[in-house]
């Protein structure tokens, strides 16, 4: 098991009442999100962030590992000890 830091932003922060938490997982993104759901005491978190049917992070989020968007990571994704995962709902600016 590895420990990762989860950062929630915008409406995710408001909905789940937390900005930052430390979560243990087996190194997979799915397990990380499942354990985060348990930590925030809301089963809905999994479906909010993860497309269970397609077994991947939802397309409409910004999900980054150490600042790198998961969609830009070409190599196989593995959560490592001390990684920071940031999750933003869809949004923008100027």
């Amino acid at each position: 098991m590895v420990r990762a830091r989860i950062l929630l932003f915008a409406t995710l922060r408001d909905k789940y009442g937390v900005r930052e938490l430390e979560v243990k997982c087996d190194g997979t993104v799915r397990n990380l999100i499942e354990n985060t759901a348990k930590a925030v005491l809301d089963k809905g978190f999994l479906g909010h962030v993860y497309d269970v049917g397609r077994n991947k992070v939802r397309d409409d989020l910004i999900f980054s590992i150490n600042g790198r968007n998961i969609k830009d990571i070409k190599e196989q994704i593995k959560i490592k000890e001390g990684d920071t995962v940031a999750i933003f709902p869809p949004l923008a600016g100027g």
Binding site: T11, S64, P90
Partner: protein
Amino acid sequence: MPGGYVDKILKVNLTTKNVTTEAIKEDVAKKYLGGKGYAVYLLYQYLKEYERRGLSPQNIDPLGKENILIFATGPGTGVPRFPSSGRHHIMALKAPLTGSIGSGNAGGEWGAFLKFAGFDGIVIEGASDTPVYLALVDGKAEIRDAGELWGKNTMDTTRALTSLVGGKNTSVVCIGPAGENLIPMATVMNDEYRAAGRGGLAAIMGSKRLKAIVVSGDQKVPVAKPEEFRSVADRCLDTMKKNPVTGEGLPTYGTAILVNVINNAGAFPYKNWQSGVMPDADSISGETLTKDYLIRKRACWGCTIECGRISSVKSGPFQILTAEGPEYETIWSLGSACGISDFGAIVKAHQVCNELGLEPISLGSTIAAAMELNEKGYIPAEDLQGWALGFGNAAVIVDAPWRTTYKVGFGKYLALGSKKLCELYGHPELSMTVKGLEMPAYDPRGIKGMGLAYATANRGGCHLTGYTVAPEILGIPEKIDPLITEGKAQWVKAFQDFVSVVNSTVNCQFTTFALGAKDYAELLSAVTGWELSEDEIFKIGERIYNLERVIMNRLGVDGKDDTLPSRLLKEPMPEGPVKGHVVDLEKMKEEYYKLRGWVNGTPTPEKLKELEIEL
């Protein structure tokens, strides 16, 4: 006459006090639409006339009588249900800060109300000897004495003129003391809090002693195919409502939501771009703004996005009852760029900038450059006069706007803008500008396409011209990798061409998070009665961009100026997710020039012929 126009351009010569009108030329409107496009066309005609008279464009003084200032609307402006169409665009032959083309765009109501007053645009020539303002009421225009208004801040000026003129749909565009004092970072303000900021357009008004333009009226803007337009507009508005950005993100958090997004990506410039990561960015984020400072949202005329914020600072040394904003760019320039994490100070400083009519991106960036100069020991103590100019000192950003406006103490050096300030102290490399215009809040070492966008934006270091942040970071319309250079040129060109159309329609660029060129083709076709395709939309945009570039070339700008500060080209990002990265500009630039049909930043005759640009 096609729909969307009220068929009247006002021409004012402030030297002779001559006031005339001319009709919209339909053949020009078909090629250049309106707004920025039509203004670029008009500016080029002036340039040609000056050359015919023996005045070289490079010798035109931005603060002299020969400079031309144009306030423009387009066929979408002021049309009810045309998405987010309260805006106007301002163009000038030369911007005081950069010496090259001036271009600014603002929201609020003034653009729509200019149309209701009976005018599509206003061309200002010459200069008055004494302060004046223009009153455009119910189709008539007058030059009036502004002696009592000169010296007033933008809020007092707006309220005085709104009250004096009364009437329906009354709105004021004006300058504050910064514009009167010819500060090259002075911004034109309208409706109290909206700004056409970059390049010092308000200093041009100051040099012409034009304090304000008040508009009022009730004229309807004609629509060629009302039923078709209604159907297309309703569909577009529904698309915008359902889009997570225009329907939820921006309304809920405003543009400030970007602080954590960009900082997380390691591209939030910190302490004059010495890093791309701000340690306590969350303290000045959209989330913090919403939780601790927000009173309510505010929308521009005809806009469903409502990204405007009204804020207050409830207590502390920077207490303020109400202020509009701050926006992402202001939060960055007065915050992270200066190493400041005190949100109250940023809100207060922004309010002071608005009152004085001073542009925060350039001001904040200039302060940041001065902070780095001082920390490195390059500024003599006698110039500072005891001012504690250092990163993280919140009092500096609240103090700086009035010092700069009135050139008090070190303010007289800040008033130069960062390029001349850094040159003065022997370190031009510390000015983070392109073509003299300070770059906004995205470090291209972490968002490579923005490097090309900044380098090739006609008006200088501008993020709006080619906002590749959308695909590179936000994944709109699709996700592309921000750390590669391949393929970025076509994105930058596409954005530049499309945004040229948006600025010529004159409505809000934020609609493009949800709407595309096809939507604009349908909206504009229904309003004007022309049959416009998506391809034609891009061709019109490309034409406008190229003619603007022709003007730039005549002003002395070419490929050597399409570049970036050496910090971004040669200093690897020292920390964060994009540690080690620089901007590989030359590869992207080569690809971009090929796509554009330019050689050394100059459109070829073949390209101009293809675009039917007649020189």
